[in-house]
Symmetry: C2
Subunit: 310 residues, 2 copies
C-alpha cells in the first residue's frame, strides 16, 4: 500500500519530500499562510461499502478536505491519508479506493504526500488531511459577515441528501443526477475567484447542510440571517427538483455559502458554476425562512441528526 | 469536546486561526519550509486501556508526531487531533486523554489547532497530525548518509519495549524507569541543535526499533552499516540494563539515530541528552552487528512483528 501510494505521490508542485522520510517537506508560496483541514471518514457513518463504490469513497474522503480549502479561497497543495483497514478487505477495494482519491487529487494538481496505515478493528477508517495556502491575511473566514450583506450559494442544493434518501429506501441510483452524492466537485476555482475579486466577506462550505452551515457563519460573525425559500436552488433528480427540506438541511453538497457587502455585484456564474442570491444578513442572532406563508424560524438541523431521521 | 479543545487551542505562536473555521490558518516563518507528519494510534494496536492511563495515551499519540519533527531537525508549530470514540467511553477518560496530549503540546509551545471527532465502531482511534517548519533546504533527511559516516544514538534504548514485555507478562510497572514507555520525551531540542550545528548527514527517530529504523536510513541513503553491540546504550530498569535484543529491536523509545561525517566532533551530550557513537556507515547494503563472537548479520526486525512475538 505504501509503495503504491508512494508511486502516486511523486513530483508534486510544492512537495519537496513526500513519502519516505519522517515528515513530508512542503513549500508554502512566499507571502502565503498555510491552511490545514482534517476530516475523519468512517464506514457506517460517512459511507457504506454496499452503497458506495470504492472509487466514490476515496473521492468523497478527499472532497471533504478540498471543499474546506475552497471555503477559505485557498489553493490546495498536498494531501495526507491515514487509512485503517479491516482484515479480509479485498485488495481490489483498496486499489479502487486509492484510485478514486488520487484521481480527484490529480484533477486539482494535489500530491498525496504522506500518511499512515493501520489495521482497523472494524470497518474502513480514513482520516484525510489537506494542506493548502492563501495569501497572507486573505483567507476568507466565517467571521466577516455584517448586517446588510447579501447571501449567496453556488450550484444547487439537496442532491446529495436526496440520493442518500433513495439509498436508504433501498433504491439503486443509476443516473448522472446522483454524481453530486457519489462524486461531489469541490468548488476550489470559485473560492479562489471570490478571494481574488475580494467579493466574499465570509464563507463556508455546505457540508452539514444550508441551515447548519449558515448557523456557523451567524455564530462566528455574531449576526442573523433571513433566507428566501422560493429562490434556493434545488438540485434536479430525473426531471424534478428535490424537496425543499433537502435543499435547506441536506448535507454533503460541498457547494459554497458566502456573504458579500451590499454594494458588490456578484456575477451569476463564477468558473461556470451558477451563483444564486438566497438571503440577507441581519442584526441579532436569529435565522428566518421567508416563504409563501410568511417568515418562520429556520432551525439549524444538524446533518447527522437529519441523516439518521430519514 | 470541540469546545474543550477550542479552549486549549487559543493564542498559539504561528496559529492565526485555530478551531472554528473551515481550515486552520498558520504562519510558516519566512524562509522556512513546512513539515507534516501523521500518525494513527489505535486501541489494541498502539495502546490498551487496561495498561495505559489515559494521560499516557494522549501523550504517546502526540509524542510520535513530535518525534518525527525532531528527526528532521524541525520546530513544531501546531497539532491536529482526529479522534473517534466508542459509545460508552467515560467522559473522564476523554478529559484525561486530552490533558495528556495538551500538556505535552504546551511543553513544546505547540497549539492544538484543529481536528475532527467521530463515533468509533470499536475502540479509541486517534490520528494526530503535527505541522512544523525548518529553514529552507535544511531539514535533515534519511537519505544523506555516506560510507565512512559515524552513527550515533541519543539517550538509551529498549526501555519502552522492556516495559511492554512486563505488561504482557502481567506485571504492573510502577517505577519512574518506565516513564520512557508511558511518557516518552521527543528529542526536539537535540534535533534542532544537530541541524543548527550541521552535524547530522542523515537522521531518523527510533519509533520502530534500532534495526528497523537503521534499515530505513540504509535504504534511503543506499548504504550499509556496522553496529557495535557492546556500546549500544541500554536503558536501565531497576538496577539492571535491559536485554540487548530490546535495545536492538524494541520500538517506541523515540530517541534519535543519526549519521555524521567522519571529520565532525559530536559532543557527548546535546541539550542534556547523552549521545553515543554506536557504529559506522559502510558500502553496500548490508547491516552487521559486531559482538563478542565476531560479526553477524543484523536483521531488521519490524517492531510490529517483534511486539507480537514477545
Amino acid at each position: 500500500l505504501i509503495a503504491r501510494i508512494r508511486r502516486q505521490g511523486r513530483g508534486g508542485r510544492g512537495v519537496l519530500k513526500g513519502i519516505g522520510d519522517d515528515c513530508a517537506v512542503l513549500r508554502i508560496p512566499p507571502g502565503h499562510e498555510a491552511l490545514v483541514t482534517t476530516d475523519f471518514s468512517l464506514e457506517g457513518v460517512h459511507f457504506r461499502r454496499e452503497w458506495h463504490p470504492p472509487e466514490s469513497v476515496g473521492h468523497r474522503c478527499l472532497a471533504r478536505g478540498l471543499s474546506d480549502i475552497a471555503a477559505m479561497g485557498g489553493d490546495p497543495i498536498a494531501v495526507f491519508l491515514s487509512l485503517a483497514l479491516p482484515s479480509g478487505l479485498p485488495q481490489s477495494w483498496v486499489d479502487r479506493f486509492i484510485k478514486g482519491l488520487t484521481d480527484l487529487a490529480k484533477s486539482f494538481r494535489v500530491t498525496l504526500a504522506g500518511g499512515d496505515t493501520a489495521q482497523s478493528p472494524d470497518g474502513v477508517l480514513a482520516d484525510v488531511v489537506v494542506l493548502g495556502s492563501a495569501p497572507r491575511g486573505k483567507a476568507i473566514l466565517r467571521s466577516g459577515a455584517r448586517p446588510g450583506d447579501k447571501i449567496y450559494v453556488t450550484g444547487s442544493l439537496g442532491g446529495s441528501a436526496a440520493t442518500l434518501k433513495q439509498l436508504m429506501d433501498g433504491r439503486k441510483p443509476s443516473s448522472r443526477c446522483h454524481d453530486r452524492h457519489f462524486f461531489p466537485q469541490p468548488r476550489i476555482e470559485v473560492g479562489q475567484l471570490l478571494r481574488r475579486r475580494r467579493l466574499a466577506s465570509a464563507m463556508i462550505d455546505l457540508s452539514d447542510g444550508l441551515s447548519t452551515d449558515l448557523a456557523h457563519i451567524c455564530k462566528e460573525s455574531s449576526v442573523g440571517a433571513e433566507m428566501w425559500a422560493n429562490v434556493i436552488p434545488r438540485a434536479t433528480i430525473g426531471n424534478a427538483p428535490v424537496a425543499l427540506e433537502f435543499g435547506l438541511h441536506g448535507g454533503e453538497d460541498y457547494e459554497l455559502l458566502f456573504a458579500t457587502r451590499p454594494k458588490e455585484t456578484v456575477p451569476r456564474q463564477l468558473g461556470r458554476v451558477a451563483v444564486t442570491e438566497v438571503g440577507r444578513v441581519i442584526r441579532g442572532r436569529g435565522m428566518f425562512l421567508l416563504g409563501e406563508n410568511g417568515p418562520t424560524v429556520l432551525q439549524a438541523q444538524g446533518w447527522e441528526h437529519f441523516r439518521k431521521a430519514r
